[in-house]
């Protein structure tokens, strides 16, 4: 059973970082109720996981070493000419009792540019290297992730687990119009692979797609702690 180890609540003030100011506080601000129990996936509303242990068990599936397969679709239309096959590796390590997970990614694909040699969205890999971390969000029973690419640009969100898939949807500014970024990370209990799908939509139409499949390196289990098998 998950049990956080921090003990802020009862640690005497004098043992906390100095200087410590212990004071009666003003009332905490009303927290925005972001308890989105439902997630829209492909137009269907699905219930997100509310059982903390199941969320934690899912995170453990991400631990291990992986090779990358899949493609980048530069226009999101499925045209063969726009598909760029990807290759690369990921090393994902567990962190803490849950575990949280941090992955170092190195993913590349053949460079693509516009007709005048200008950069185009998705034309160059910013996953070489990139780091993505996942941590448990106990207040809202979700997974907070952050992805930082090789050029310093990052995305972050509180994502929800729906079945075996972590789901995040955020507005974006990559394209004019109603730009939405959808991320789905699917890790099934069989531990064989992790699918990472990032899709940029403009006015509801797919404009760019990263479809990665992380295939577990043989002999690379998801076990985080000696003697503890998470599946």
């Amino acid at each position: 059973m998950y049990r956080p180890t921090r003990r802020w609540a009862i640690v005497p003030a004098v043992l906390l970082a100095n200087p410590v100011v212990l004071a009666a506080a003003e009332d905490p601000p009303a927290q925005a109720d972001e308890q989105l129990d439902e997630v829209v996936v492909s137009g269907t509303r699905l219930k997100s996981e509310r059982n903390p242990q199941k969320v934690i068990d899912w995170m453990a599936r991400l631990v291990g070493s992986f090779t990358f397969e899949g493609h980048v679709d530069l226009r999101g239309r499925g045209n063969a000419a726009d598909l760029r096959p990807v290759q690369g590796t990921a090393i994902c390590t567990g962190f803490g009792p849950a575990p949280a997970v941090q992955c170092e990614l190195r993913v590349r694909w053949p460079e693509a540019r516009g007709s005048n040699g200008e950069p185009i969205p998705g034309g160059l890999s910013y996953f070489d290297p990139a780091v993505i971390v996942y941590g448990f969000e106990p207040n809202r029973i979700g997974i907070r992730y952050m992805l930082v690419g090789s050029k310093g640009v990052s995305t972050s969100d509180l994502a929800r687990l729906v079945g075996d898939t972590l789901v995040s949807r955020k507005p974006c500014t990559d394209f004019p119009g109603d730009c939405q970024r959808l991320m789905r990370v699917t890790a099934a209990p069989d531990l064989r692979q992790v699918e990472m799908h990032i899709e940029l939509q403009v006015d509801g139409v797919k404009a760019l797609e990263y479809a990665f499949v992380m295939v577990r390196v043989p002999g690379s289990p998801s076990v985080v702690h000696p003697g503890r098998s998470d599946e």
């Binding site: 049990r3 956080p4 180890t5 921090r6 003990r7 802020w8 609540a9 009862i10 640690v11 043992l15 906390l16 970082a17 100095n18 200087p19 410590v20 100011v21 506080a25 003003e26 009332d27 905490p28 927290q31 995170m59 962190f95 803490g96 009792p97 849950a98 575990p99 949280a100 950069p119 969205p121 998705g122 034309g123 910013y126 290297p129 990139a130 780091v131 971390v133 996942y134 941590g135 448990f136 969000e137 207040n139 907070r144 952050m146 992805l147 930082v148 690419g149 090789s150 050029k151 310093g152 640009v153 990052s154 995305t155 972050s156 507005p171 500014t173 990559d174 970024r181 990032i198 940029l200």
Partner: protein
């Protein structure tokens, strides 16, 4: 990974756009906003802000000694990710009594082109995560958000349950100097004692420490 796609374009364009900023601002005419009597083009202002954030983020890389009033309590290793300004840090708290509460932490920082701002995420030793988009003002980023509510803790007969927790984080990183971190935490607690009625209290405390650059 949307933002990553336009980031280099935006950042590489910074110098040229900044150089022609005044011209651009004039060309935009009514779109330019007045700020302290000076016309600031919104596009140029955004690029300027991103350049400032990029510069600030790069100050975080390095190895640091974590101190509280001059007393070392741990070390921080922060490395840049790729050629950009994103930073990945590992904090290790070595002082007895700190491991339980803090242990090893991971902290990540990166540009958020959508906000725009600086994304911050902290993984705690207990696998919980907290963070969000911070705003840079001068040499300081600030962030207000909730913090993980831990399970009830017992201290002798007293059980303290944190019902709500929020925090104000400030990270001050001036060029060429030590980094100061100030975290003010506010908790709404329920305190239970055997045979008594539970009481509730607002409690705030501040944690401050420095990162002294080792290299």
């Amino acid at each position: 990974m949307k933002a990553a796609l336009i980031a280099p374009v935006v950042l590489l364009a910074c110098a040229a756009l900044l150089a022609s900023g005044e011209v651009a601002a004039q060309a935009r005419g009514g779109a330019a906003k007045k700020k302290e009597g000076v016309a600031v083009d919104p596009v140029v202002g955004r690029i300027d802000a991103l350049a400032d954030m990029d510069t600030w983020l790069r100050r975080l890389a390095g190895r640091f000694r974590i101190t509280v009033i001059g007393q070392p309590i741990g070390e921080a290793d922060c490395v840049g990710i790729g050629t950009g300004s994103g930073v990945h840090c590992i904090y290790r708290f070595a002082r007895p009594g700190w491991e339980d509460r803090w242990g090893v932490q991971v902290r990540m920082f990166g540009l958020d082109l959508d906000a725009p701002g600086i994304n911050y995420l902290r993984l705690n030793g207990d696998s919980t995560a907290e963070g969000g988009v911070t705003k840079l003002r001068g040499d300081t980023i600030s962030f207000i958000g909730d913090c993980p509510v831990v399970q009830p803790e017992r201290s002798g007969p007293v059980i303290v349950t944190v019902l709500n927790c929020w925090q104000e984080l400030q990270m001050h990183a001036p060029r060429g100097r030590n980094i100061r971190i100030r975290n003010r935490i506010h908790q709404y607690q329920m305190i239970s004692v055997p045979g008594g009625r539970p009481s509730r209290a607002n409690v705030s405390f501040t944690q401050e420490w420095q990162l002294e650059r080792v290299r």
